[in-house]
Amino acid sequence: MTGMEILLLVAFGGVMLTYILGRISSSLRNTFAVVLSLVLVVIIALMYDKTGETIFYRGFFGIPMVLRINSLSWIFAMTISFIGCLSVIFSLDYMKVKERTSFFYAMLLLVNSSMMGIVLAGDLLTLFIFWEIMSWSTFLLISYNGGPAIAAGMKYIVMSFAGSMAMLAGIISIFTAFGTLQISEIAAGMSSASSGFKIFIVIVFGIAFGVKNAIWPFHAWLPQAHAEAPSPFSAVLSGVLIKMGVFGFILTMYVVVGLGTYMSLGGAIFSVRSILLVMGAITILVPTFVALLQDDAKKLLAWSTIAQAGYIMLGIAYGTSLSMAGGVLHFLSHVVFKSLLFMTVGAVEFRTGGIRDLNSLGGLIKKMPFAFTGTLIGVCGLIGVPLTNGFVSKWLIYKSLIFGSPLLTFVALFGTWGTVLYSYKLIHNIFLGQLPEKLKDVENTPLSMKLPMIILSFTVLLFGILPGLPLRVINKIVVSLGFDSLNISLWGIVSESGMLNMINLFAAILAGLIAVWLFLRIGARTIPVKQDDNYAAGAAVPRDRYNYTVKFYDPLLRMISPYLRDIFDTFYMKIADLTGYLSNGIRKIYTGYVGNYVMYIVLFISLMIFVQMKWSPW
C-alpha cells in the first residue's frame, strides 16, 4: 500500500461516503467533504519530491495497472486537490439553495478523484479508465443545472467521447504494437517505431487531449459547458479539468513520443510541432475576440479560458526549456486566476439570484467589495499585469518564442490586448458603473466564498512576486522531460536571452505606489460621495437609464464580428444535423410493411447466391 494507493482509496471511498452521508444529514456531509478534500491536499503535499511506480491492480485481464508519481504528476495532483478543496468550500453556500446537493458533492469529488487518478496513472489503461470516469462525471455535473445546460452537456460529452474513442484507438494501437501499456516502457518502444505510427499516435492523442484542452478547432464544447455548469464546478472545469489536456499533451509529446523525436516529427513545414504551434496561436487569437462579443459573464470567462489554453499550448509545444517552464507555469497561473474569476462571478451570480448577463449588472463594488477585489486581482493575473503570476508565465512564453517565431509572439501579445478589453468589460459591467435599482439589496459575499477567494488572490500575488516558488518544481519537470535546466532564483529567472527579476519590479512598483499615494495625501482632503452623485453637465443623471454597459465595445464589434463566426461550431452542428438526417433516412428502410421485410431476407440470400455463383469468392 503506497501513498498513491491510499490517496486514491481515500478519494474514491470518500466519494461514496459523501453520498451516503448526504442521505443522513447535509451538514455532516458538507463537513466530511471539506475534511476529505483537505486530507487529500495534505496527502499529496506529503508526497512532494517523491518518485516511484507501483502496480496496484492486475484484475484487468492481467494487464498491470500502474500508479506512478513524479514531479509532473505531483504538481498536477497538487493543483487538482487544492482547487478541488477550494471549490468544495466555495460550494458550501453556493449549493445551499439547490436541489440534489449530495449528488453534486459526490460528483465534484468524483471528478477530482478521477483527475488525480489520471495524473498519477503510470500506464495508459489506468489513464484511460480515469479519463472516462472524469468525462462522464463531468458530463453529469455540466448538465446539473438543466435548461440550457442540457445542450451544453450534450455537446461536451459528444466531443469528449469522440476524443476518448480516438484515444482508445491510440492506446490499443500502442498495446498491440508494444505489448505493454506502461508509460515508461512505451517510451522505449516508441523510439524504434515508424514515423507514420508516431504521427498517428500524436494525432489521435492530440484529438483526445485537444478536445479536453479546448484547442481550436476542438473548442466548440467549452463556452457553453463552462457557462452552464454550477460555478464552483466551473472553477474546477476551467481551472484544472481542461488542464488534463495539457497534462496529456506533455505526456504524449515529451514522454511517450519523446523530446528528440517530437521536435523533428513530420515534414519540414507541416511538422507536428509547427501545426501545434499554429493551432495554439489560433486558439489565442480567435477566442479572445469572441470573448469580447459575450454578454454572459461566465461565457466570457469560458472563451477566455480557451484563449489562455492557447498560451499554454504555445508554451509546451514550442519545446525549449524556457517555453516549457512558461507553459507549465501558465497552467498554474491560469488555474489560480481563472478559478478565482469563476468563483467571484459565481458569488455575484449567487447573490444576485442567478444573473450572469453583463448588461443587467453593474455597480456592485460597494455591495460586494470582496468579490470586486478578487475579480480585480484575477483580471490582473489574466491580463498579465506585472506582480501577478500571469505576467511571469506569459513573459517566459514570449521570451522563448520571440526570436524563433515573432509572428506567434505577435499573436500572443496582441491577444493580451484583447484580454485587457474583455477583462475590463467583465469588471466594469459587474462592479463598476451604475448600480441597477433591482440590485439595491444585494448582500456581501458569504464567508465560505470569501475564503477561497482570499486564498486564490493571495496565490496570484505570491506567485507573481516570488515566481521562484513554483518554478523550482517546474524546473524539475522540465529537466525530467529531457530539457536543459533553468537558472532559477526565488525572484525570477535568468535565461540565455535576458533575465526577469521580480523583486526589482516589485520594489519599483511599490515605491511608485507609495510615492503617488503620498502625493495624493499631500493634496486637499477628499469628500466621499455616493456612487451616482456625479457630473452630468448640469442635467440630472437618470437612474437605471444611464448605465453604459450594453454594447460596451460596439464600434469594434461591428467591425470584427462578421469575421468571428465560429465555423467549427457550425461545422460540428452541421455534422450532428447530418447524422440526424442520415439516421432518419436510414431508419426508413424499416417500412412497416412485412412483405418488404421478407423481401430483405430473400434479397439477402439471393444476393449472396448471385455473388457466389457469378464470382465464386468462396
Binding site: 506569459k394 519599483a508 493634496g523 486637499a524
Partner: protein, 296 residues
C-alpha cells in the same frame, strides 16, 4: 549614483511631460493665431488642483488612479533617457509592454467606479483606441527585437549606434514608417483625440476628477506623452548618448505630433481603428516579414 537615477529619472519624465503639455497648448494657440497660456501653466494648475477639495467615489476610485500613475512612473525607470536607464536590465521590452497596460487599466478602474456614463464611454474608447494602435505597434516592436535579436531596450539603443538609426536602415524602414503613422494615436492627439473629446463626453474618463485627482490625471497624461515620445526616439531614432540631444530629439517628434494635431479633425473611434488596422498595420507587418526573411 544609482539611487539618484531612480529618483531623478521619474521626476525628469514628469517635468518634461508637463512641459510638453504646456508647450502643446502654447504651440496650438500660436497656430490658431492666439496668444495662449504660459508654458508652465499646467504645472501651476497641478499645484492649484492639489489644494482644492474634491469628491471621491470610493476606494477603487483612489487606488485605480494611484496604480495608473505609479505604473507609468515605473516605465520611466525602464526607458533610457540618454544614458540614464536605471532598470533597463529587469526584463526589457516585454516588461515595458506590460507595464504600459497598467496606466490605462488603472485609469479605467478608477473612473469606472464613478458611475458616470461619460467616463464609461471614454474608457471604452480609450481601450479600443489602445487596441487599435497596439496591433501595428506590437508588429513594429517585434520587428525591432527580431532585427536586433534582443529584448533589451538599452541594447537596441546601443546597437543602433553601430548600424545607424533604425528608421533609416533597410528592413526596419517600413517599421519606422508604420510607427510614425501611429504615433499620433499613441500620443492621444488629434485625429485620435476621441477618448477625451471634451465637447462630446465631457473629457471622458476625466469627467469625475477634481482637485488632487485631476492633478494625478494630468500627471498621468503628461507621463503618457513622455513615454510615447521617448519610446519612439529610443527605438527608432537611435536614442542618444547625451540627455540633451535626447531631449532635442523628443522635442522634434513632439512638434511633429502637435502639427498633426493642429491640422486634422477628430476621427470617430471606428474610423480610427479602421485606419490603424489598415495601412500602418500592413506596413508594419510587411516590415516584420522583411525582417524575418532577411534577418535569419
Amino acid at each position: 549614483m544609482h539611487i539618484i537615477e531612480f529618483i531623478f529619472s521619474p521626476l525628469l519624465a514628469l517635468l518634461i511631460g508637463v512641459f510638453f503639455l504646456g508647450l502643446a497648448r502654447k504651440v496650438m494657440a500660436r497656430i490658431q493665431w492666439r496668444y495662449g497660456p504660459p508654458v508652465m501653466q499646467p504645472l501651476i494648475d497641478i499645484i492649484r488642483l492639489l489644494s482644492q477639495k474634491s469628491a471621491s467615489h470610493g476606494v477603487a476610485f483612489n487606488i485605480g488612479l494611484v496604480m495608473s500613475l505609479a505604473g507609468s512612473l515605473v516605465i520611466t525607470l525602464f526607458l533610457p533617457f540618454g544614458k540614464i536607464a536605471p532598470m533597463s536590465n529587469s526584463g526589457g521590452m516585454l516588461v515595458i509592454l506590460y507595464l504600459m497596460l497598467i496606466g490605462p487599466l488603472g485609469m479605467a478602474i478608477s473612473s469606472g467606479e464613478s458611475a458616470n456614463p461619460n467616463a464609461s464611454i471614454g474608457i471604452s474608447r480609450k481601450l479600443l483606441l489602445a487596441m487599435g494602435y497596439e496591433l501595428p505597434f506590437l508588429l513594429v516592436v517585434l520587428a525591432l527585437m527580431k532585427a536586433y535579436n534582443t529584448t533589451s531596450i538599452t541594447e537596441i539603443v546601443s546597437l543602433q549606434r553601430d548600424t545607424g538609426w533604425s528608421m533609416f536602415t533597410f528592413p526596419l524602414v517600413l517599421s519606422g514608417i508604420a510607427y510614425l503613422l501611429i504615433l499620433p494615436a499613441m500620443l492621444g492627439v488629434r485625429p485620435f483625440e476621441v477618448v477625451n473629446a471634451p465637447q462630446e463626453i465631457s473629457s471622458g474618463p476625466l469627467v469625475e476628477y477634481g482637485g488632487p485627482y485631476l492633478a494625478l490625471a494630468t500627471l498621468q497624461h503628461a507621463l503618457a506623452l513622455f513615454i510615447g515620445i521617448s519610446l519612439f526616439v529610443n527605438l527608432m531614432w537611435g536614442g542618444a548618448a547625451n540627455p540633451v540631444i535626447f531631449f532635442l530629439k523628443m522635442l522634434v517628434v513632439f512638434f511633429l505630433g502637435i502639427f498633426v494635431n493642429a491640422v486634422f479633425p477628430r476621427l470617430r473611434i471606428d474610423q480610427a481603428i479602421r485606419y490603424l488596422w489598415r495601412w500602418p498595420s500592413l506596413i508594419a507587418f510587411a516590415g516584420l516579414i522583411l525582417v524575418c526573411v532577411t534577418g535569419s
